[in-house]
């Protein structure tokens, strides 16, 4: 296996850094980190349970990463980096992988982390009974077995060269084998992990406190003594607390709050281009959206540059109806689809709607910009003869009645580590959430082949074709991607915002000497 020396994502990141400093926001440089201190982090999503295998929201991923370790972790360039596994290799066709474990890792109950625990953890994670989220996002794993005390062997159903990246999925954490059998429920409240921190206090609706794990396997890390994670009812109150200096770090700021927060005294705004997107989901199996001309007409009715300005407040990138953008490794750049109401009108007439088309677009109110996008789509599409009414609803009702069932609604998805993951999650015929019911066999074959291919150039070509196919066929409209926006106090050092939005790296964070003593 090989990693490219330089890729597009890094280029984008450095470009973004230049952009940020041009705006007058300081770019922190690497200086010797000072150990010690308490970091206060703000969250606007309450973590419910501590079992890392059952984590479903970013706040739970954050705690999972602090309290547990996985085999590999995801770097900001979307490559796999060592965690409990220090090296790995595969056979020629990438159907068998061997991961070598570090020998100095131990759980918080004092037991060493061995291959036995890894096998037990993956067996539990892949068991459908566990109903672990992301079970199908790891890769086509067939079998996991121990190879001595400190190595494990993974067999896959089909060749899969992304396995080390797949295993970085935030729920793929290693738990002690004995406790998985005895009391799996116990992990909901009582963590036993090998992560950089240990739990001190867990009041899910107020604050979660963790302290440095003195036995962590990386020397001299973590640097912080304690981390306090405070939960706020919504993004705005978390932003207010950031401005008032009550927290040091906020990993999610709404685009509408960002400028105000980033301009706060002693606060650095964080902008990271990401593959997070909102899309207009259409049921391709039923009229009117089973007619490609209707989907294309709607696609031509969207002014994508304006969408970035209106919905993402400029903190985003326009999309071309493929879920892959510059934040991914195999992004294929293509010219942006134009805003062409006349052509859209003609296509609609051709499809049998010369007098326009009446539609109801559903948007959940969480996050807030779902409904903003719905309203902007309504207004933009008027010119081409679409008469769209927007129906907003609360999130529970949306999940229950519309998501994966509705014909026309606004979807919201986080960036995934690889092109394969996002395609297989949403757009292939056997996708976990096949909400568009596009069911295009040629596309399925393309994605399956790319997943199997180990040759980088060949893969790039296959994924490029897949992106082009989505752009042409428009199974869903992806008008814009959102940058991840965050904020930190200037004295917080070593924190890098991860484009995937589900990885944090708190063991590398420290407070500078100018931090207030508490």
């Amino acid at each position: 296996m090989s990693f490219p020396q330089f890729n597009r994502r890094q280029f984008l990141l450095s470009g973004a850094a230049l952009g940020v400093s041009a705006l007058g926001l300081p770019v922190t440089s690497a200086i010797a980190a000072t150990p010690g201190g308490t970091l206060r982090v703000g969250l606007n999503i309450t973590p419910n349970k501590l079992n890392p295998m059952l984590a479903r929201v970013n706040s739970e991923y954050m705690l999972g990463e602090m309290l547990y370790s996985g085999l590999t972790t995801l770097a900001t360039d979307m490559s796999a980096q060592p965690d409990l596994a220090i090296e790995w290799s595969s056979n020629e066709d990438a159907t068998q992988w061997r991961f070598v474990l570090r020998e100095n890792a131990q759980f918080s109950n004092g037991d060493p982390v061995t291959s036995n625990d890894v096998v037990a953890s993956f067996t539990k994670l892949l068991d459908p009974e566990t109903s672990a989220p992301g079970r199908r996002n790891l890769g086509p794993i067939k079998n996991v077995e121990a190879d001595g005390d400190f190595a494990v062997i993974f067999d896959t159903e089909t060749p899969f060269s992304d396995l080390p990246v797949g295993l970085t999925y935030p729920t793929a954490k290693i738990l002690p084998a004995s406790l998985i059998i005895e009391s799996f429920e116990g992990f909901d409240q009582t963590p036993v992990g090998s992560g950089p921190f240990r739990l001190v206090d867990f009041k899910p609706d107020q604050v979660v406190v963790v302290e440095k794990n003195p036995d962590y396997f990386l020397p001299e890390q973590p640097l912080l003594d304690r981390v306090e994670i405070r939960t706020f009812p919504d993004a705005s109150s978390a932003a207010a607390a950031m401005l008032a200096g009550e927290i040091d770090l906020l990993n999610e700021v709404q685009p509408t709050d960002f400028e105000r927060v980033a301009n706060g005294q002693g606060i650095d705004g964080l902008v990271t281009p990401s593959g997070r997107f909102l899309d207009i989901v259409m049921d391709n199996s039923k009229p009117p959206f089973n007619d490609k001309r209707v989907r294309e007409a709607l696609s031509l009715s969207i002014d994508r540059e304006a969408m970035v300005e209106l919905v993402a407040e400029g903190y985003g990138t326009p999309g071309n109806d493929s879920p892959v953008n510059g934040a991914y490794r195999y992004y294929k750049e293509s010219s942006l689809k134009s805003f062409d109401p006349d052509r859209a009108k003609a296509l609609l007439a051709e499809a049998g709607y010369p007098d326009g088309l009446e539609l109801e677009l559903v948007a959940s109110v969480k996050p807030g910009y779902r409904s903003s996008m719905a309203v902007v789509v309504r207004e933009m599409a008027k010119a081409s003869g679409f008469d769209i009414s927007v129906k907003t609803m609360d999130h529970p009702t949306y999940l229950d009645q519309v998501w994966k069932k509705g014909q026309f609604y606004v979807g919201y998805y986080n960036m995934q580590p690889t092109e394969g993951t996002i395609f297989n999650l949403l757009f292939t015929s056997d996708a976990s959430w096949n909400e568009t019911k596009w069911n295009n066999e040629a596309f399925d074959a393309l994605v399956a082949e790319a997943d199997r291919t180990t040759d980088t150039a060949k893969r790039a070509e296959l994924y490029a074709q897949a992106q082009q196919m989505m752009s042409d066929e428009v199974p869903a409209i992806v008008p814009c991607f959102f940058d991840l926006l965050g904020a930190k106090a200037s004295y917080v050092e070593g924190y890098t915002q991860h484009p995937r939005g589900a990885s944090y790296g708190f063991h590398k964070v420290s407070l500078s000497k100018s931090a207030p003593t508490r």
Binding site: Q206, F232, A241, L243, E246, P396, D400
Partner: protein, 316 residues
């Protein structure tokens, strides 16, 4: 006041609590999505949903679920939160304690401020002072808590002024001063809104009383004005004031929910909102029950206070 009366009222309270719990349960059955849908969220598959429903007992008929919950409550067991897996009893009680701090501080402040304010306004009826009090009261009554709370937050907790913390909570046991500092803005919000309400009521009652025959008689007898105001008139106006304050407990509970959400204060209100958002039935039931009982008890106490203030009132 007879013991029978108290027993009777206590029985009513019990019936109220049971009816409230039935209504809350019935309403949650009508809502789309249940706890399993919310726990699995966007990761739900058909099998996972069925399995989780069975595990949480949500696949059973509604009346079976209700009976299981009810029989648990009879034994003092409020169940396990479907959202966090923690026991509901201790969580909701500690949240209730926090909310009670807000409510009690607000009520005491309201009583201390609004009654004298109402008396003064009534005794200067039609004069500038009365107009001033009335105007401020109108503003207070017509200003919803969430607007006032947000205004106070944006003003007094802004980074430029930063007189008070924008959010959070410190237990009184850890640091009483910091605790007071944290509850100031929420209590202020509740107090301003309720003061407007109560002082308007006290004022209008006082106006009526000041015009009644016995006050005129006292004035003709040459009783000093101050004595008439506070000894004769106020005591007679207190009964309606107490009714208003007791009824306002319902209003206060609603206000507490709003204020807790705005100031991220960990009380029953926040628990209830989280419970509703996540369809966490046991937590929702316990929270609603607690609020209903609080309201009923407050009214019972108000009735008892009547009897103490006015010897003519006897409850049978």
């Amino acid at each position: 006041m007879s013991p029978e009366f108290i027993i009777k009222r206590f029985f009513y309270l019990l019936v109220t609590a049971i009816i409230v719990s039935m209504i809350v349960f019935a309403v949650t059955q009508l809502l789309p999505a249940n706890a399993a849908t919310m726990i699995l969220g966007e990761y739900a598959t058909e099998e996972a949903l069925l399995a989780l429903n069975a595990k949480l007992g949500l696949d059973q008929p509604a009346w079976v679920q209700y009976w299981q919950w009810f029989s648990g409550v009879l034994q003092g067991d409020f169940g396990i939160s479907l959202r966090t897996g923690q026991a509901v009893g201790p969580v909701i009680l500690s949240a209730f304690g926090n909310s009670a701090i807000l409510a009690v501080f607000s009520l005491v402040l309201v009583s201390l401020i609004s009654i004298p304010l109402g008396v003064i306004a009534a005794s200067r009826r039609g004069r500038p002072l009365d107009l001033g009090v009335s105007l401020i009261s109108y503003l207070g009554v017509s200003m919803p808590e969430f607007v006032l709370a947000t205004l106070l937050l944006a003003w007094l907790a802004s980074p430029a002024i930063a007189l008070f913390p924008a959010s959070g909570y410190v237990p009184f046991a850890t640091d009483p001063l910091a605790a007071l500092h944290h509850i100031t803005l929420p209590v202020l919000t509740l107090t301003i809104v309720l003061t407007a309400h109560v002082s308007r009521m006290v004022r209008s009652e006082m106006v009526d009383t000041l015009e009644s025959d016995f006050v005129r008689a006292a004035r003709l007898r040459g009783v000093p004005k101050r004595r008439i105001l506070f000894k004769h008139a106020l005591r007679n106006s207190m009964l309606p004031a107490i009714t208003v304050i007791a009824l306002d407990i319902g209003y206060l509970i609603g206000g507490v929910i709003v204020v807790e959400e705005v100031f991220s204060f960990p009380g029953v209100g926040r628990q209830l909102i989280l419970a509703i958002q996540n369809r966490d039935l046991p937590m929702l039931q316990a929270g609603a029950l607690l609020m209903a009982v609080t309201y009923a008890v407050a009214n019972l106490l108000a009735d008892l206070a009547y009897a103490l203030l006015d010897k003519r009132i006897q409850f049978k």
